[in-house]
Amino acid sequence: MADYLMETKDLGISFGGLKAVQALNLSIKKNQLYGLVGPNGAGKTTVFNMLTGVYKPTFGNFYLDGENLTGKNQETINRKGIARTFQNIRLFNNMTVIRNVMVGLSSRPEYKCSILTSVLRLPHHFRIEREMREKAKELLRIFDLEDDRNNLSCNLPYGKQRKLEIARAMATNPKLLLLDEPAAGMNPNETTELMNTIRLIRDKFDMTILLIEHDMKFVSGLCDELTVLNFGTVLAQGETRQVLNDPNVIKAYIGE
């Protein structure tokens, strides 16, 4: 168990009678780039929603660093070290870029500051604020967003919004980063840039990343291992090249 950062054991969920995901066993090693692929409606985002506490799994368990996080709420799971981005970007639109990241930072234990301290404007409050601002700038620099930091996040171009969402997720200091279709809606240049950013995150932060993606070029260029879902069940699992040549996968994707 200790070999894997993230493990799911027979994870499944049903809505009413519909089994959206069944018997999912993922084993993600530390520092791995792991891909979750599959046709539409295969249950990929549902897996993400279970792993982040949006849905409570009906069957099975999942473990982060050996700790069972099944059924915990979103906030707890995030604090334990799973952060995510969304398929349809969810930024805090009326806030500046830097504040978006600072919101992500605020749940970290090192930036703890009670409400009373803030209201009374004790020195600790100012120190925390300054530190958070510096840390946020540092993160934005990595994502090449520093120059935009005082813009409203809703005014950023699409590619930068995606990057900002990743930056915000990274701000919560996760052990595992979940990216839900990060390349959706990007042009080829942006996609290449994003691939570099994701590799950079992995190397610089020693991050483990689980991502959902449709773009097979993206997946094959980036992921070490893959799990292919189809109708909520695992179709194939293993090393990327091996999985992509699996006849079942080809059948599900391209047809007979």
């Binding site: 985002t45 929603n49 949006v54 969304f86």
Partner: protein
């Protein structure tokens, strides 16, 4: 015997609430907004009846004019105040409906003054069956409500417009792609809701023939409660909620200890239902996709 009278009164009151609640619920289902000004349409209907009764003395003409005026008003409000905000945040829409409600009330007070006015439409007398005495208007209200509900249910189920309404309430974008004119459907919804509100105003006046500018607030808020209890967005839910609320109101009013707290009890029921079952009895559960 007293119990039967209370129950019949309750049913009839409930029918009126149901009629108003239908306006709330249809607008919510189709335009996805809470129309706080709906109660004030009842007030406008009441005043129209007053004006035309003084003018002509013919109850049927007055009622017809009330329905027509309310329908036009409902459509105008929708076009002027709500349509520009389609796609804006729900909070903005909600505040605008409150503004419209406030506007109608103030306007009515300027035109008609704040003192309540009496409207005598027609004296229907008492209905006596054995030892059972029931006010005739109660029976009339009950019958009319049943007719209106039936027509509305049939309309929604079996006409093209009605089915289009269901489609729009299910998924506005998909309905639009299927060639349904969403704007037209929303306008029709407002028109139907306003017509029902005018009728509700009539039945309210039959029960207590005095009208002021806040005439619509109390039935408005209560019918709104009814709509939520039944499950806002659901047509049978509005009927159920209205009748439940009417019964509760009339039964509680008969219990001396509780009678001063009728309003408080009704609103407490509302809060409890929202907490236990936020979507009401027959409402659909909505959840945001992540």
């Amino acid at each position: 015997m007293d119990i039967i009278t209370t129950l019949i009164n309750g049913l009839s009151m409930g029918g009126v609430y149901a009629m108003i609640a239908l306006g709330y619920t249809m607008v919510y289902g189709i335009a996805k907004m809470l129309n706080f000004a709906h109660g004030d349409i009842i007030m406008v209907g009441g005043y129209t009846i007053l004006v035309f009764m003084n003018f002509s003395g013919m109850p049927l003409l007055a009622i017809a004019m009330a329905v027509i005026c309310c329908v036009i008003l409902g459509i105008v409000i929708e076009k002027v105040a709500y349509k520009p905000l389609r796609g804006a945040s729900p909070l903005a829409v909600l505040i605008t409906t409150i503004g419209v409600s406030y506007f109608l009330q103030s306007l009515a007070q300027i035109i008609f003054g704040s003192a309540p006015k009496m409207v005598n439409i027609v004296d229907l007398g008492l209905l006596q069956i054995g030892s059972l005495k029931i006010q005739m208007y109660t029976v009339l209200t009950l019958i009319c409500t049943i007719i209106v509900m039936t027509i509305l249910t049939l309309f929604v189920k079996y006409t093209q417009t009605g089915r289009a309404m269901i489609a729009v309430s299910e998924d506005r974008n998909a309905a639009q792609l299927m060639g349904i004119n969403v704007n037209k459907i929303i306008t029709i919804t407002f028109a139907i809701g306003s017509a029902l509100a005018a009728l509700a105003g009539l039945f309210y006046l039959l029960k207590s023939p005095s009208i002021s500018n806040t005439f619509g607030s109390s039935p408005g808020i209560k019918a709104f409660t009814a709509a939520v209890i039944g499950g806002i967005g659901s047509i049978p839910g509005a009927m159920l909620g209205g009748i439940l609320l009417g019964l509760v109101e009339n039964i509680v009013a008969k219990i001396p200890v509780l009678s001063p707290y009728v309003d408080a009890i009704e609103f407490s029921i509302l809060i409890i239902i929202l907490l236990v079952k936020p979507s009401g009895f027959l409402g659909k559960k909505r959840r945001e996709k992540v």
